[in-house]
Subunit: 468 residues, 2 copies
């Protein structure tokens, strides 16, 4: 019945059933599989609107999906209509003078990167999945990534959005303005709402001047406090131009070398604290090379590294001498999801604490993990510059109770340190327990009231974000 209605409204080529639904029947982590009622792939906002109107009238659950690269199970759709935005993949406009791009939800992130570059600009949000994730999911989860330190989270890069509400009404908030206070901020409410309040179909995104030069290094430090000293010294020397400050532990380095034996190692030996540091420069004074061909921004980085080597706060450092070497440094960092999930069973955590508390957190977890499971191994990759730690553990046995106990231990320590149990991957289904146990109960009640007000039939991405 709803299938017929959707087919009549959208056309048969926009409605998929049976085996062709395969790409929408599992998530990227391989932890979840499901069977949707159907997958619909509208070509435009009107199609999304029609589909939601019909599903709402029929009380049929709808799960929005774009790149399907999420790590929190936000696209599980057993028996649901999966609403894929992948055909809405136009970059409608790039206005380089106003430094903005108008894009549809199905645009792949790396496609936008390339388009912005052609205008001499950059869209600075980036992370490992950029080649397949799409703008819609990035906005729905308020994705973070490696450049948050300098440019903020996804929401900080959004000027306006267009979204379709549960009943099919289209809300037009496509502002291109930097100041716009006209009532409640629905834009920020919809961004990061993981599809439970509406389906984001298009957005106006900020672009930034493309750095003319980068200085990139792999650095080994004796500990995390010394790493922070490096960050602060670099921020001071460059006036806040550090674009990325990423931490990888020894387990990560070992595992990466094992899985990528072809990759050149950054150091002659292995260290505990490995950092990927990148400084970007836009001003002419920082990029015009001197008589010796040295670019100022590289000189700042090398100067700070030399000082800290002397102080013993840096153990070794390799500054990228070519774009290929820079990309190799990044390839290692961006393999984080692949490397982390290369072993099962796994407990994946995505937490945040203040930058000066990351070391305390990791130290506390060492003892707690060993106490729970002497055979467990922890692996850590962190956006150290913003305090976001991807703490994962490989327990020695596949035991739901043990995995839950590890998660609980992580959250105990995180909340003790004033942190968040959910930093950049979102809640989806993966963190429903955490929401139930840890989120401020008044905040949770307010979220439920808003959900009921905007989606009274509860058709949008049911069972996600808000614990039942």
């Amino acid at each position: 019945m709803i299938l017929d209605d959707l087919t009549a409204a959208l056309g048969a080529d926009c409605v998929t059933t049976g085996a062709d639904m395969a790409p929408w029947c599992r998530d990227w982590t391989g932890q979840h599989a499901w069977t949707p009622l159907c997958v619909i792939r509208p070509r435009d906002t009107a199609g999304v609107s029609d589909a939601l109107r019909l599903c709402n009238a029929a009380r049929v659950p709808v799960v929005p999906v774009s790149g399907n690269t999420g790590l929190a199970g936000g696209t599980l759709g057993e028996g649901a209509v999966m609403l894929s935005l992948d055909r809405m993949n136009r970059i409608r406009e790039i206005r380089s003078d106003a430094r903005l791009a108008v894009v549809e939800a199905g645009v792949i992130l790396s496609t936008l990167h390339t388009a912005a570059e052609q205008h001499g600009l950059a869209f600075p949000m980036t992370f490992g999945a950029r080649g397949s994730c799409m703008i819609g999911g990035m906005l729905a989860t308020n994705a973070g990534g490696s450049n948050v330190l300098r440019y903020g989270n996804t929401r900080d890069l959004v000027l306006g959005i267009e979204a379709v509400l549960a009943d099919g009404r289209v809300v037009n908030l496509m502002s291109a303005l930097h100041k716009d206070n006209s009532g409640l901020n629905l834009k920020h409410l919809l961004i990061g709402s993981e599809g439970i309040l509406g389906v984001i179909t298009a957005a106006v995104l900020k672009l930034v001047p493309r750095p003319r030069a980068f200085a990139t290094a792999m650095v080994a430090a004796p500990g995390l406090p010394q790493a922070l000293r490096l960050l602060n010294r670099l921020q001071e020397a460059t006036g806040g131009a550090v674009e990325a400050f990423e931490y990888m532990d020894r387990v990560f380095m070992d595992r990466y070398a094992e899985m990528h034996p072809e990759a050149q190692e950054p150091f002659d030996t292995r260290f505990d604290v490995n950092l990927l540091v990148e400084v970007g420069a836009t001003a002419p004074r920082d990029v015009e090379s001197d008589a010796d061909g040295v670019i100022p921004v590289a000189a700042y980085l090398e100067g700070v590294l030399a000082d800290l080597l002397e102080e013993g706060a840096v153990l070794d450092a390799t500054v990228a001498q070519s774009e290929a070497q820079r990309r190799a440094f990044w390839a290692r960092r961006e393999a984080a999801a692949e490397i982390t999930m290369s072993r099962k069973p796994i407990v994946l955590c995505d937490i945040a604490v203040a930058t000066d508390r990351v070391a305390v957190f990791l130290e506390a977890m060492q003892g707690r993990l060993a106490g729970l499971d002497a055979g467990a191994v922890a692996i850590n990759v962190s956006h150290l510059g913003d305090g976001n730690v991807h703490y994962s553990a490989w327990p020695s046995r596949d035991d739901a109770g043990l995995k839950d106990a590890i998660t609980e231990a992580v959250e105990d320590e995180v909340l003790r340190l004033g942190g968040s149990f959910s930093a950049e991957h979102g809640v989806g289904v993966a963190k429903l327990n955490s929401m139930r146990r840890r989120k401020d109960p008044v905040a949770l009640a307010a979220m439920r009231a808003i959900k009921a007000a905007l989606d009274p039939n509860g058709i949008l991405n049911p069972g996600k974000v808000l614990p039942g």
Copy 2:
């Protein structure tokens, strides 16, 4: 009855009635006056919670107020309980390493400025009312100001908030984190909601490195396009370090000189396009003076000005030679509200368009204003760097129909150019008509649904923001 209950709950010294209510019986613009039922001044969040619980049970309207410096009539409280946050004025904590301040809603903005400075840091939000406006109102209206170009609007400077909902429940979102995705973003929903969803009682605010040096100039340009060329050239030369780029027209300059005859004029003659330009520098390379005592950041500014003088894109320029001269430049700009409101009747507009469309807007308005009222005079002060224009008109007669027609003409032109009828002052009661006529109707319906969900009895700041 409610008076007795409030007195019993808060203590008699926290409940004011009669003549002592005078400061809370009018707004700063002098356009509105009213008589509240009483003014309550709780000392802490628990007091705010008690008061709201009682008022909600008794269905008594509550109007939150802090510094009462708003320009949109957001604190009108005829017959209401006015809830003043002014006694909640503690800076609870400044953590300079984490670059944050934990403050209560009643802290005066300039008090926070001073406190941050004592830690070598800055809270970069600033505007004319900083000596009396308070953090609570600043958050409730998502205030803008002169440094948005570099640091964003108020919401961009907020890590966490604490708020009390209509029924007295306290919602704790006091995150100190840069990444925190745990459900719907209530923080951004409450910021800018002008007190209709909850009362913000405390906040965690971001601090930034205090610029070690400023280069500040008054510049005269032949037109707005040339002014934009100056902005873009300066941004490029400094790697985006322009902190303020403010426009004042000739009428404003004339009126300021009239009202402040003691003030030194920046130029020997009067110009049409007058700019206050400020560049801030934090990196040592930009502030360490050379052998001649020239600071690099000043050299960049002077270099760009010299180039543009030669190109004819700058007519005259005075670079501040002392902190006193810099402050005098700012005093003129920050007298905007005083100067603009020095004549009545007045139509005050606070609109935004893309920066490259400000000139088009002003030109179009010249014709339309003259067509409506040949005797009307327009006066303009703009945050030109972010496209926010404070367009005001002094009509030749006090005629409500004429004033509405002028507002309508402004909004027609603004929307034709893709702008917003409400940039940084909020809606309050001043822009209810604009919301009714111009806001996306689906967005308006969604706002009403959220309001009903979180404040079902409609006690919080009734009659504001959402047209009836």
